[in-house]
Symmetry: C2
Subunit: 382 residues, 2 copies
């Protein structure tokens, strides 16, 4: 029998590499009930070809929700319902990117996002960053240089809020400066983690701050369930209209119609509040364990999302360390996966989403042991 899910269990390893939800936080019974309610409420309208942009009730629901969480929220004509956030990125690239188009990307940024972008165009070109994230002025200079050399970039991709892998958010001043610096360059803002804010509200989205160059991608994978493949994007009405006119959407109708209707009958607010508390607890457990067991490592406490972006002491290379770590029963994603070039080889990403506090603590202890062994084994500085 072939497997059912993407996750591959390795029982001997405490695996902090997967950005997957904790299985017991998935709303199995509540979702089954919501879906049944929606199908029985909308009947044939839930099962026939759905409206290409997304079903009206879902668009209304989302506009009302975003008006509260990221004011002022989009207008209905600025919303397109997708089959997940990854699909939103794939679809946006289909519209905006052709083979050979240069694409700017944050550094570091979501490694599989880089893969999706590279499926459509490239080269991928990292933007200049400093300790606070993307540097607007230096990015403007880079765009100018590229344009003068006949390689004007066609897009910027970033995860500015509770970022993957950094867990950090671009501050409001940088957001405003960035939008101004970019001029007409289209931006894809991957806003997957906004709802999982643990220490107060997230900063306003680039979409909310901008005049229309930003395509903002949202997801129900982290908040409800990835297996539903339901997400959305907000963008200028002409871009939404262009997506709706795409042959594939015109042919098949709304890209995840019945599931989108079901989301409107799901008790979203209460569920998200519950999982937000759970994931905040896991964040706290991981932060405490790392601070205690790896005192020489550095990190910023993530105010949201699913990841801790750890920097090991000088001399350690997280890609080289991985086999020893897995032999010792712990895994992570080496930092180099999140860079196009110039990786920080001391970085690694720890996911705190999938495991409970005691497993997280046990994993950190194994990682600390491996790190100490590697430090002992490395040649003394010359």
């Amino acid at each position: 029998m072939l497997p059912t899910v993407q996750f591959r269990s390795r029982p001997a390893i405490i695996d902090l590499s997967w950005g997957h939800p904790r299985p017991d936080l998935l709303p199995v019974d509540d979702w089954a009930e919501a879906y049944g309610t929606a199908i029985r409420r909308y009947r044939s309208a839930a099962l026939t070809y759905g409206r290409g942009q997304g079903p009206g009730p879902m668009i209304d629901w989302l506009c009302a929700h975003l008006a509260v969480t990221d004011p002022p929220g989009p207008r209905p004509a600025e919303v397109f319902i997708t089959a997940g956030a990854s699909h939103a990125l794939e679809l946006s690239c289909s519209l905006l990117i052709r083979p050979g188009d240069p694409i700017l990307v944050d550094a570091p940024t979501y490694h599989l996002g880089l893969r999706i972008l590279a499926d459509h165009g490239g080269p991928l070109i990292p933007v200049p960053t400093d300790a606070d994230g993307i540097d607007p002025a230096a990015t403007r200079e880079l765009i100018g240089e590229l344009s003068r050399s006949g390689r004007p970039p066609k897009l910027l991709y970033l995860v500015p809020t509770h970022g993957n892998p950094t867990g950090r958010s671009l501050c409001v001043a940088r957001r405003t400066a960035l939008i101004e610096a970019l001029g007409d360059l289209p931006v894809i803002e991957d806003d997957t983690y906004r709802e999982l804010s643990y220490d107060g509200p997230a900063p306003p989205s680039l979409f909310a701050l901008s005049g229309g160059t930003v395509i903002r991608i949202g997801s129900f994978a982290k908040t409800v369930a990835p297996g539903l493949r339901l997400g959305w994007l907000t963008a200028r009405p002409d871009l939404v209209a262009a997506l709706t006119r795409r042959g594939y959407v015109d042919s098949g109708g709304g890209v995840n119609h019945a599931t989108a209707l079901a989301m409107t009958t799901f008790g979203y607010g209460r569920h998200v509040e519950r999982i937000r508390q759970a994931y905040a607890g896991q964040r706290d457990a991981l932060v405490s364990a790392v601070a205690a067991a790896l005192p020489d490592a550095s990190f910023a406490v993530p105010a949201g999302g699913w990841f801790l972006w750890l920097r090991l002491p000088p001399g350690l290379d997280t890609a080289r360390l991985l086999p020893a770590a897995e032999a010792a029963g712990v895994s992570y994603v080496p930092g180099d996966r999140f860079y196009v070039t110039d990786a920080d080889s001391r970085r690694l990403r720890l996911s705190f989403s999938m495991l409970d506090a005691s497993a997280l603590r046990a994993g950190v202890h194994r990682l600390a042991d491996v790190t100490r062994l590697a430090e002992t084994a490395q040649p003394a500085p010359g």
Copy 2:
């Protein structure tokens, strides 16, 4: 409130233009129950990130099903679960087609399929056909000519079984000859209508007859419900692996995971048998009504699918006739939509899927009235 569905109702018009299911044939209660059963059976495995190729239980189910309906059926490594047939076509094009790539298409063929192909490449080049469909020998010559002129085609798209719009199927001899004539040229076989065969089994698929150049697309939109956005394709294992490796699939996992699992718990066989009888009855009603009311029009009785491909008497142009038809309370799709070039202006497509027998008969009477008026109004042949 924005609409929920794609269909736009025009109460004064009996609309035979939409290839949509009859609303009361959609399995509202049975599907709601099947989905709930699957979510409660697989629990977190139904809601977390699914396996990219598709969940094992669904792939096993589909292989067993196709082994009966289109023997010998694919091996598991030859199956990829998609978010609908249109998505399967979009995804296949993403892999195979680049801007500027010449694409061969059947003539006539599915008009929105042409749109999907054109989103990825083109020019679209119609293949030579005769009264029995695509002509293998002439197609081989065309491929040779195009290749010698430096424009080798990258793909052939066709709907060879109960085709849209023709309702006709390519005979087995032509299928075999076509596969031989095409050599290494990749083929996308849109096999959406196979299960809706009314007069005995459909011919074997090109996929089943070929050695591996064929990507065959299947759908649950016509058999269960389009709003689910669930489909599949069968292809060579290396193509399936390439789809699975695509960044968007690697990032989001199985493209319609929970819905795919639900299909394995749905009473598919009994449901399809029921709707097959219903649609066969609608086919019969439309065929009888057209034969009686439009004795000068010609058509082949469709042995399956949802469409009747009607040819009006000489001198009538179905695109020009459409406004008068709609004014008289009936609509259809003019034949020219299904051709890239050299349309047969006397053809039109009537869908018998969405309306019951009495509505179909009433629509045909209105069409016959409009046709007679137009014949009277047209200038006598000079």
